[in-house]
């Protein structure tokens, strides 16, 4: 087992990474301060792992709430099921919520914890690659609104994160790919060495090699933790974590949440950002093609939805959180391994990227 600490002063917390961790009671008990626990999970994950987690929590008042599975349920209505459970079982301010599932469960449980009685503790037990490398670091919690993704939320740090790599064995291949998009992102924005390593090991990673996956998760969390530690509430540098996300959110929003997986949209969005960087002269064509190959090796889409035109992107990019006073701000690359944020995007080149379609990354 590897242990990584996210350094955030008195809100610092450990991430445990390894095999078979979710049934290990010693990882939970130091981080549960009351006698009450509510496990929040979904219909897909519950049959696989709920009983193992409950066995690790003998001696506590353990309640559970099982939500429907999917991004479509990441809303205020479903969030309210968590509050209902907490209040029906009379959970008080010393309760601990445990998020057992992927990013949707983590985000919703985190926001429920942030807002129940104005804030209670929670523990993340992410069971997807995406949530292990993304939502387990940074304390971002949220639900969606019909008019925008993650528009309602809070910054709320967990007590600890238990990333059990064994759970990836039951993860659908498509979701492994989606998670891999975020792993690739860390290489692109701040870790050229790791990016090189990923190029060499993508086949092994996608075949489910536990050693390789453990290393990739650890390195991704480390990279993210370093960025978050510099900027907990996203005033500045943290925005580079959104490489590909402004394009990606536009795709998700246009297609209806849940049709494209978040990681799929981000993967294509990263290629669009790098395509734009190439048009702006910052990235070599060969580097852009190498990224395209890596995304293909991870079974990720490398072109946006066929029914989306440039206008469809622009309208949706205007309401993205990264927009300041109407100007589109984007995360772009200076070079592989170094990202920056800019509002100074030549509109002409942006439109070329949005129009590239099939030719994205290969003109």
């Amino acid at each position: 087992m590897k242990t990584l600490t996210v350094e955030l002063g008195d809100r610092s917390y450990p991430i445990f990474i390894g095999e078979g961790l979710l049934s290990n009671s010693e990882l939970y008990t130091p981080y549960i301060h009351g006698r009450q626990v509510l496990i929040v999970t979904n219909e897909t994950v519950a049959p696989l792992y709920l009983s193992a987690v409950k066995e690790a929590l003998v001696g506590y008042q353990v309640d559970e709430v099982i939500l429907p599975d999917g991004e479509a349920y990441k809303d205020l209505t479903t969030l309210n099921f968590i509050y209902d459970a907490l209040l029906e079982k009379q959970h008080n301010r010393t309760t601990t919520l445990i998020a057992l599932g992927g990013g949707v469960i983590g985000d919703m449980t985190g926001f429920a914890a942030a807002s129940y009685q104005r804030g209670v503790n929670f523990i993340q037990v992410p069971t997807t690659l995406l949530s292990q490398v993304d939502s387990s670091v940074g304390g971002k919690t949220a639900v969606n609104h019909p008019l925008g993704k993650n528009m309602i939320g809070a910054f709320h740090q967990p007590q600890c994160v238990i990333a059990d790599v064994s759970t990836l064995a039951t993860l659908p291949k498509r979701e492994l790919s989606a998670g891999m998009a975020e792993v690739i992102k860390y290489g692109l924005i701040c870790d050229a060495e790791f990016y090189g390593w990923l190029g060499e090991h993508m086949t092994g990673l996608m075949s489910g090699d536990v050693e390789l996956l453990s290393y990739a998760i650890q390195r991704s969390c480390q990279d993210k933790a370093e960025v978050v530690a510099q900027d907990e509430t996203e005033g500045g540098i943290r925005a580079i974590l959104n490489l590909g996300h402004t394009f990606g959110h536009a795709i998700e929003s246009h297609q209806g949440y849940g049709n494209w997986l978040h990681g799929e949209a981000v993967g294509t969005g990263m290629l669009m950002a790098v395509d734009l960087g190439w048009r702006m002269g910052a990235v070599q064509k060969s580097e852009m093609l190498a990224l395209r190959d890596m995304l293909l090796a991870a079974s990720l889409p490398v072109v946006g939805p066929r029914d989306m035109g440039p206008d469809d992107y622009v309208i949706r990019m205007q309401v993205d959180k990264k927009v300041l006073d109407g100007r589109i701000r984007l995360v772009l690359l200076k070079r592989i391994g170094e990202a920056y944020v800019t509002s100074d995007v030549p509109k002409e080149l942006l439109l070329q990227t949005l129009q590239a379609g099939e030719q994205l990354g290969c003109v």
Copy 2:
């Protein structure tokens, strides 16, 4: 105009108290950092003051959302109307919400601000005595859940508070009384001198004397600010602000929110707490009777609902936020002007208080 600063480090903010303030643009502009403003108000307050506030905000993108009036609408469904307005008008992270109304508007707008895009700025313009002396200090924001009051919320400090005493002229008498209950509370818990002053001036205060009201608001905010500054997120001393609230919440919850005004329930709850204190030997009978007289002078009820028995109280007190691991914790008085929190309440005496009914404060 008086200016009071709530000292909370980098979250410190001023409270402006005086006549005719809500139309003074100079009080707003230093505290609005973007170009977008959303005024949140209700159907009762909008016809009275909305246009005056809008005139003070010339030059900004000013949008508005007018909610139905009343505690019954302090819920997730109504909260969502605020998010709808923010997203329909494409408000970004630099937006400022302005809460124009009483405590319900302040609490909901504050929580919307705390959670919209994980946190944006807000300004409080409280238009009731209760909200001027209570919710304008302390940063508590929340909505109700069918199973409990203020169960979903956040700590989120405003940029400034503009307490316009002129608005009290249009306030229904019953609401002036409800606010006065909280004013009396500050005297009881931490300011014996102020409590004495209130005893002398209750008639003038209730007749709407602006000078007297300004002083009472200022002193109440000062008292509350001092308590809050010691304990921003309610770990300890701040709990004394809940004198009367555990009994009061039980009354409100049993009667259905909005039938008893919050201040009315707290007023009766304070008398119950003092009655219990008398039974425990901490408070003189004459002091208890003086409080009863002061509540009557403020046209406040001095006996709980006739249809509530001791069991009705106890069940509802169990789910109160002040409960730790099943033990009822109460705020009681050591003496007039000094409160403390205890879980060590003799059950027998508590039941006597809950059974006292008409005899409360006068056996």
